[in-house]
Symmetry: C2
Subunit: 202 residues, 2 copies
């Protein structure tokens, strides 16, 4: 289960991630993490000065990986419109979250340390800015109507988060059809950004 070859540091991070994936931040006590890594409590403090520091690092890692995926999804492809790119970004976000509900919940909404909360907020801000930049481009190109891009971005991030986590937050084992949800969210987003339909689709 645990890669014994990996260094203690890595094993601790891995155990922490695993526990979070399964039961959220709350489940991940120092004792549980240490046990999961096959070391003693004290070992953790050889590598981080507090539990919070460990999780701050973990969040940073996971979030940046996440952001990478989103950025890739939003890349300007062949003849993709801005709206399509926005949809791709949000769709990727949603799909990934739905695949790992607990983890998503921990990243998005679970109560955490102030130290960790700071990471979370930073990530959210980055994500918003990313989206806002995309929106501004769309506005400049005339593909989107004039609007407060930052506010729209914030509302989209929050909206997608809520729609995903709302049903997830407790222990929703309702395995809702991910594809359907993603599609509905994209549809919502398309309207929300004010995509002017090419005079055809409704």
């Amino acid at each position: 289960m645990v890669d014994l070859a990996a260094g203690t540091r890595e094993r601790l991070l891995h155990a922490a991630l695993e526990l979070t994936r399964e039961g959220g931040y709350a489940q991940a006590s120092v004792a549980a993490i240490a046990a999961g890594a096959g070391v003693s409590n004290g070992a953790l403090y050889r590598h981080w000065s507090s539990k919070g520091e460990l999780f701050a690092e973990l969040f940073r890692t996971v979030c940046s990986r996440e952001l990478e995926a989103l950025t890739a999804a939003g890349l300007p492809r062949a003849e993709a419109t801005v709206v399509e790119r926005v949809e791709a970004v949000l769709g990727t976000f949603a799909a990934r979250a739905l695949r790992n509900p607990r983890l998503a919940w921990a990243l998005i909404a679970e109560p955490v340390d102030p130290l960790v909360e700071a990471e979370r907020l930073a990530y959210r801000r980055t994500y918003r800015q990313h989206l806002a930049a995309l929106l501004r481009k769309g506005i400049a190109v005339g593909e989107l109507p004039e609007q407060d891009a930052d506010l729209t971005a914030a509302a989209l991030v929050g909206g997608v988060g809520e729609a995903l986590v709302g049903p997830t937050s407790p222990v929703a084992d309702t395995p809702p059809d991910a594809d359907v949800i993603v599609a509905a969210l994209q549809c919502f987003a398309r309207r929300a950004v004010g995509a002017v339909p090419p005079a055809t689709a409704r």
Copy 2:
């Protein structure tokens, strides 16, 4: 005497609310609440079996008052369209939250007891359902396009919350112009629900 008891009870609730309004749930320790009400720690336990129970009641009270205001705002007025009613509801929500940022944060996003979290979720659900019902009406009337009303409602609640609380969460003393924000949010909402423009704006 009953009146004396009610007095203390009210004073405790009031102190708890005041503390939350100022510094959020975290600030509101049992000791602080008791001190605020001018009684001892123990007194609290004559009226609630735990701190969580007190706050559950407090949340319930505050939230139901809030919901009342929203419901009133969303009432079918003279010749109001459904979209106008949705705007009124969201606008009221936003305006009230902006007037009391800390409290709004506590109600929407701050980490709290499981007991209190349950109240919060219940309230959110009610709010979503309220909105969803309104949306369904709009769809039925043909004022809004076909859509997953529940998802749209969830995304709107989350979006408005994020847009309001995102900047608020830390200690943002940025006194943003409330009217502007509210207007922008309403604009966002109008697009998001897919209000068919009266063939004029674009």
